[in-house]
Symmetry: C2
Subunit: 322 residues, 2 copies
């Protein structure tokens, strides 16, 4: 009889479900649409239905389910198991998601922030498998992060830690939605990198492929920049390099503070692979102190968008099974 935990990853458009075994092997991941029109009730019902399906499959195989972990976007009150609110799902305010789903499935349940869950996923089953200390940076719409210290997720005293995207790297720099200036994510998330480029194209009258794309589509994204750079566009190369520079600066600070085995890069921008890590490593090695050689590895994430659901199950293992 094998033992598994259920992982559930709540996103704005889909809820993912999967089983993580004691042996750290992960089964098939199933996906259901996120109901957005029936508040917490709809989400809870969908989570119980998807979870029950996996539990039934496990029962047929004679396997045991030990617990369920739910990863969800913040803000959360993690230790209370409560979602504070979700902008695109009215009626989720102060929803006690953990207890309702746990009761519905008849399993011990635990709630975790999705960025922390993704970090634990990569740590347990992905790029960070060999690490004891690891930081995941997810370069997507914003810059999400999760920090593993000696094998444990870092939460902070008020569950507001691990916000590396809001580490200030440029004093009095770009205004951020959080109310600060010069936050790391304003320089190297996929979205803000593209936004900075678009602003410069307009302000400086830059011409070339990106200017044309901007005119055609009304916007540009990080993939447009990456392609223009590969095609030899100098402006795209400059913009891309600037993002790599700030990301390298962030990585240097992570090394000085955490000295991790590994920094793992996920999210849309990390899809560029070597095109990102190449310039990044160039800046990183130059900016890094010379008192000791570079010992922290920088690697691309391995689990892609599944890191969150894997990690959610991992959180359940930590809380219920180990």
């Amino acid at each position: 009889m094998a033992r598994h935990c259920i992982g559930i990853d709540l996103g704005g458009t889909a809820i993912k479900f999967g089983l993580l075994g004691e042996d750290r092997r992960f089964g098939e991941i199933i996906q259901r649409p996120t109901p957005t029109d029936r508040g917490a009730d709809g989400v809870v019902e969908q989570m119980i239905a998807g979870g029950q399906k996996l539990a039934n499959q496990a029962a047929e195989e004679g396997d045991e389910i030990v617990g369920v972990g739910i990863g969800a976007p913040g803000p959360l009150r993690i230790s209370e198991g409560v979602i504070v609110g979700m902008p695109n799902i009215p009626g989720m305010e102060n929803a006690p998601l953990r207890d309702r789903v746990g009761e519905g499935l008849g399993l011990p349940a635990v709630l975790e922030n999705d960025a922390n869950a993704a970090a634990l996923g990569e740590f347990l089953c992905g790029a960070g498998k060999a690490a004891r200390n690891m930081v995941l940076l997810t370069l997507g719409t914003g810059l999400g992060s999760g920090i593993i210290v000696e094998g444990e997720i870092l939460h902070g005293a008020h569950e507001m830690g691990a916000e590396i995207g809001h580490m200030v790297v440029q004093p009095e720099g770009e205004e951020c939605g959080c109310g600060q200036r010069g936050c790391l994510e304003r320089y190297c998330s996929a979205k803000f990198l593209a936004r900075r480029a678009a602003r410069r194209i307009k302000a400086e009258g830059v011409t070339g492929p990106l200017d044309e794309t901007l005119e055609d589509k009304g916007e540009i994204n990080s993939l447009d920049i990456e392609r223009a750079r590969e095609a030899g566009d100098a402006f795209a190369a400059e913009v891309w390099d600037e993002a790599a520079y700030y990301l390298a600066l962030g990585c240097v600070n992570i090394c000085r503070i955490f000295d991790p085995d590994e920094i793992v890069l996920g999210g849309g921008l990390a899809g560029a692979g070597e095109a990102l890590t190449g310039p990044l490593m160039g800046h990183f090695e130059r900016l890094h102190w010379s008192m000791a050689p570079v010992v922290t590895k920088i690697a691309i994430a391995r689990l892609g968008n599944d890191a969150g659901v894997v990690g959610a199950a991992g959180v359940a293992w930590r809380a219920c099974g180990e």
Copy 2:
């Protein structure tokens, strides 16, 4: 019968000794000169002599000694108990200080970096007594730091973490001895604050009390700046405020990353008390994000120069007694 651990704090000019009880009460601290002319042998003998004196006193009272903790300046190989080297004590290279002192005293022994020990000292017995997550910044010659996460000292994967003084806060800023640019300590340690001011006085032809002191003594220190500021000198106020600004930026980043209960300020500059925390809090509240109110306390250290010896004993309690 009370139980105690011996703390030993190795400094460049003095070695301190003290006993920390199970009840977190600390006894009298004794001090002996650091022998600098007989390499590791001299240091080990002095440590054993001082430690034995405390052990004898405890035995007379019928008390038990559980272990000994040694705090020492880096670089160290902490888990091996080895001092890599000390600039002002020839012959300390690769000294197995932990094992030699432990064997000499017949006690389990443990070695810790002095900045980490000081943080644990403040955490256990000083300004951080109510905290679970705490960061100590020691504003002295450099900017030393120790980080406590969920009650444990953060070391990092290669024992090189918790170097907040070398967090880059100004891209391409002041050159640092570590080989980086724009490190926090270059803007707000007592020594570098004074050095920045002296450089500006010469470069900009600043006149006033600091210029006079610089001419008289050939140098100025942070206390000169503090006094000139109190006496109403505008340049001193500007320089002091700049240090407070960068320190506030560092504190904001600490909050985003660790979300601690408390940031504790120690070292020479912290002796200014309210004259430092006043401008610091002004900048901190302005630079801090607006997504949630400020919840991390910023406080002045309580144990002064004794934090290291108290914390060294605390490290021994962690390793041997608890």
